[in-house]
Amino acid sequence: MASVKVPEQKIILCGEYGVGKSSLFRRYATNTFVTATDRKSTLGLDHYEKVYLTGDKNVKLQLWDTGGMERVASITSSYYKFAEGAILVFALDNPDSFNILSQHLLDIVTYAENAKIFLCGNKYDLKSQIQVTDADMENFCEQCHNLISGIYKTSCKTGAGVEEMFADIARQLCDSNRSRKELETMNKDSFKVTPPEGEPEDSCLC
């Protein structure tokens, strides 16, 4: 193998219209613009890919923007397919956007059955107007039988918490991939009588 393949992880954004999903997407995309030649608007972009280094492994997060899909149920399933991660987004100043998350969660579990699920409270900068508390979020996670792998608070206005969230998601997806691969290898090995001859394991486990 000439090059080490960097695995792609599809991440989708779920939540009500107006909670800041496109803002998160834009933050994710624009923060990577480094050189002048690379610099371009996010105009018309629906998908954006970034490579994260987690430990000694690279992982590619491919974020998908929704743009209008939140309103049409049957089509949403197309968007959810093949997702490895799903971020449930709500606005911290809008309890309704939080209370409806269980519906979005159901969609994820149905259409993206293997996705790791994360919770993200956006608009953290609106300090005085925050109505959804940390306790509310923890309760929600408990009610979902700990289906939620991470809780984050972000502000797309200031950018606070955004990069940290994606970096953590990248790390978690990489870890879970690694353990899945290890499990697969273990299963495979358990049926083998002799180990393969001098065949080195794939160095990339995630």
Binding site: Q62, S74, S78, F82, C156, K157
Partner: protein, 261 residues
């Protein structure tokens, strides 16, 4: 930054609140609204252009690559569906909008253009989106476990990515029409927000918005019913699959409708 106009959640700080900050200064307020309308129209057109170019590139790459090297494992006729039709209507919509904007400038009748195209958009996208959901996605899923197909899809993705860096995989290109048809209502409602109610475009924008929302619902409903049909067929043992294909969709649709009630 114009690209921030479509923000779904943070409008208040992405777009300065012209209504309160300029309260009382009517002239300036009108001016501001006019600029916003122009900017939003420009953005709608720019994204339509990008979208058309994405589809063109996809078709070009598929044609070029399949002419150069053979793709044995991938069934393009299923994957692409009626994308050619989608491209044609999108292109005509784009050209009509562009000439309207250039000729009429401030008086551009965007709503009218969309009303002209509404039923055609609905028909063409209905076919595309439902096929994408019931045939394309399951096929892509199948390809995941086929080494030859994965390798070919990888090669194709590389070609796409070279020509259009934001096209990451075949699937990110194939889902574009699904995402596009659902965006029109968003664009239209934003445009309406920044159009004076006395503007000649206002009334038709509203009608177009209702029409395109109806179209999304229609696409959605059609996809749902077709999914049901396929689900029913999918439950059938594979050896029966070929036989089942001959049974008319209509009778299955009736059966599955009965079963689901």
């Amino acid at each position: 930054d114009e690209s921030d106009f479509w923000d779904d959640g943070d409008d208040n700080f992405e777009e300065p609140d012209y209504e309160t900050s300029l309260a009382g200064v009517n002239g300036e307020q009108d001016q501001r609204k006019k600029q916003l309308r122009e900017a939003r129209l420009r953005e709608m057109l720019a994204t339509e252009e990008e979208y058309v170019r994405d589809l063109e590139t996809l078709l070009l790459v598929v044609n070029l690559t399949s002419a150069k090297t053979s793709f044995r494992a991938i069934d393009f006729s299923v994957l692409l569906g009626n994308i050619q039709e989608v491209l044609e209507v999108a292109k005509r919509l784009m050209e009509t909008l562009e000439s309207e904007q250039q000729n009429m400038e401030e008086q551009a009748q965007v709503g009218e253009v969309f009303l002209q195209f509404a039923s055609e958009l609905c028909q063409v996208y209905k076919t595309y989106c439902s096929t994408y959901s019931v045939e394309v996605l399951p096929l892509l899923k199948k390809y995941e476990s086929c080494e030859a197909a994965t390798e070919e899809l990888g090669r194709l993705a590389q070609e796409l990515h070279l020509k259009r860096p934001h096209l990451l995989t075949l699937n990110t290109a194939l889902i574009k029409p699904v995402q596009r048809i659902l965006k029109y209502p968003l664009y239209l409602s934003k445009l309406m927000e920044s159009t004076e109610s006395s503007h000649p475009d206002y009334c038709n924008l509203h009608k177009a918005l209702v029409c395109l929302e109806e179209a999304s619902r229609d696409v959605n409903e059609y996809t749902r019913s077709l999914n049901l049909v396929y689900k029913y067929r999918g439950d059938v043992d594979h050896s029966l699959h070929a036989k089942m294909r001959r049974v008319s969709l209509h009778s299955i649709a009736k059966k599955s409708a009965r079963m689901s009630t």
